[in-house]
């Protein structure tokens, strides 16, 4: 297998010392929903609360200084991790907030003649905000379709992204199919017509090397909790000249320049977008998380997932009645693998696997239009991360086979 010493890595994650349902080993295959946290991330939050807790950017005393420095150091870590600049990093509570921020802030910049483009494989968080923006402004929402193989259909790209398109917002890696979308043609076409490209990188930033400058995109959103970071923190990266012209979203303390009873002006980005006392401990924890990931190496993580994904795909293809939903080889694909299994409903399969200590997700995975398009009511999803190993995959496979016996009983 890969270069990673998974056994050593798992020792960094306290949750792997616990057991599930009557003493079973935890086989956690639900990192696509949220990832587990290493001790260093937990410690970073604890240290902040225990030593440096104060309102960042708002005091001249030593604790406030330390809190400010901790938050700004984390901003630099995020910027370096993404290949952007510190003042291009906006801290939010989640990718959901990051994407809603954009959709709200673009309200005054979009007219009824404009078009907004998404894809059929979007998570609800990168679909409904754009539906709502379209409804608010009268703009038209259009989308790339998904092929039966689970790939984006780019054959009609010039008709989907038209001269009137102002925003193209797409997922980098599908949270259902595992498909990694090719960006070059989309970015080229979008920029040709003067549209911005927003990347929902929730499922790519934690799993592979990302460089916003090389990708040549305009905005990127991800959530800390899927990248071994704390819950309650997300990131919006945006090109500085775009963040500068974009109106703010949440209004309150620390995002202002001057305020009267009737009006206010705004601080420069990123502060303009960070109203209120920040989610400081979570920001600091996210910094620790990205440092941990960098130490492991994003390319190592990506390669590990490809190896483990190939192994899982091979095993699954040998199970009669099991149908993978999405690409069946590891070409442009990550370690998130969804499937159906005969007439065993995903909910029942998931419950059976849970009884064996195996955590998977079942349902539409917040991508309901996609599952509907693919003709399934729900799927079972196993999502791999760098702390998973062959044993986890083997456990899943025997679990699936066990479920067949269990539910097949007469």
């Amino acid at each position: 297998m890969s270069q990673l010493d998974v056994a050593a890595i798992r020792k960094d994650f306290p949750i792997f010392t616990r057991t599930i349902r009557d003493g079973k080993k935890l086989v956690y295959l639900d990192s696509g929903a949220t990832s587990q946290k290493p001790q260093s991330v937990i410690d970073a939050e604890v240290d902040f609360y225990s030593r440096s807790n104060a309102a960042a950017h708002r005091g001249a005393h030593q604790l406030a200084e330390e809190a400010t420095e901790a938050v700004e150091a984390a901003r630099e870590i995020v910027a370096n991790f993404l290949g952007g600049e510190s003042d291009e990093i906006v801290f939010t509570k989640s990718a959901t907030e990051s994407l809603n921020l954009l959709a709200y802030s673009y309200t005054s910049l979009i007219t009824a003649e404009d078009r907004i483009v998404v894809t059929e494989m979007e998570h609800h968080a990168n679909l409904i905000p754009w539906q709502q923006l379209a409804q608010r402004t009268g703009a038209t929402l259009s989308w790339f379709e998904v092929t039966p193989e689970g790939r984006l259909d780019l054959s009609n790209i010039d008709n989907v992204i038209t001269e009137n398109t102002k925003i193209v917002s797409i997922t980098h890696q599908s949270n259902v199919l595992g498909t990694i979308n090719p960006l070059d043609a989309i970015v080229a076409r979008a920029h040709e017509v003067g549209a911005v490209v927003i990347l929902d990188a929730c499922q790519s930033v934690p799993h592979m090397p990302i460089n916003v400058t090389e990708l040549n995109i305009d905005y990127l959103a991800f959530s800390g909790h899927k990248a071994i970071g704390p819950t309650g923190v997300g990131v919006l990266w945006g090109r500085s000249e775009l963040l500068e012209m974009l109106p703010p979203f949440l209004f309150g303390g620390s995002m202002i320049e001057t305020v009267t009873m009737t009006d206010a002006t705004w601080a420069p980005a990123p502060r303009k977008f960070e109203a209120g006392v920040p989610n400081m401990a979570q920001i600091v924890g996210l910094g620790a998380a990205l440092n941990y990931l960098s130490k492991i190496g994003m390319n190592n993580i990506h390669l590990h997932e490809i190896e483990l994904g190939s192994y899982l795909l091979a095993q699954l293809s040998a199970i009669e009645g099991l149908q993978v939903v999405g690409p069946v080889d590891m070409q442009n694909r990550g370690g998130t693998i969804s499937f159906t299994f005969g007439d065993i409903h995903p909910h029942d399969l998931g419950q059976y696997l849970d009884a064996q200590g195996i955590a998977v997700r079942t349902g539409h995975h917040c991508a309901w239009p996609l599952t509907r398009k693919l003709g399934v009511a729900a799927t079972t999803r196993a999502s791999l991360y760098f702390y998973n190993d062959k044993d986890d995959v083997d456990a899943l496979v025997s679990g699936i086979i066990g479920a067949k016996k269990y539910f097949g009983r007469e």
Binding site: R21, D22, H345, P346, H347, D348, Q351, Y352, A355, T362, G363, H364, W368, T371, A377, A378, Y406, F407, R409
Partner: protein
């Protein structure tokens, strides 16, 4: 094993041989309920007759728990007075909220007591209630006609 408490034979039987599945064309009220967290759906038709439930038919997709539960519910309710049906409904909801502490009254719930194990699995209670909530909604809408 708790899993066996969840997946009782009765449930798997109802799942494999659902009762009153397939929508009848005439009805007093039709409702469509979904479980947004998993995508399960049920459409339910109801006809009343003089304060009694004349017919229930349904269709839908879902897990064994949700499908068996609507099947059991239909079996139980058809022919009952709306009043008696309310007692059954309340008794079932109460069982579902019991966190595994109740076993249900077989006099009232009949096959429904096989669902008792569900109450230990919070994420599945919604599955079990899907059809029952559809019934509740449908009977209200049919009664107010």
């Amino acid at each position: 094993m708790e899993l066996d408490a969840l997946y009782q034979e009765v449930i798997l039987d109802h799942y494999k041989h659902p009762q009153h599945k397939g929508l009848v064309p005439t009805y007093d009220a039709q409702v469509h309920h979904v479980n947004p967290s998993c995508g399960d759906e049920t459409t339910l038709n109801i006809s009343l007759d003089n304060g009694s439930i004349k017919s229930i038919s349904w269709d839908g997709v879902g897990c064994s728990i949700s499908q068996a539960s609507v099947s059991i519910m239909s079996d139980l309710m058809i022919g009952k007075s709306v009043k008696d049906a309310e007692v059954i409904l309340n008794s079932f909801v109460d069982l579902m909220q019991s966190k595994g502490l109740k076993s249900g009254d077989p006099q009232i719930l009949e096959d429904g007591v096989s669902m008792a194990g569900v109450s230990k699995f919070p994420a599945r209670i919604k599955c079990a209630l899907l059809g029952w909530m559809a019934y509740k909604d449908a009977v209200l809408s049919a009664s107010s006609k």
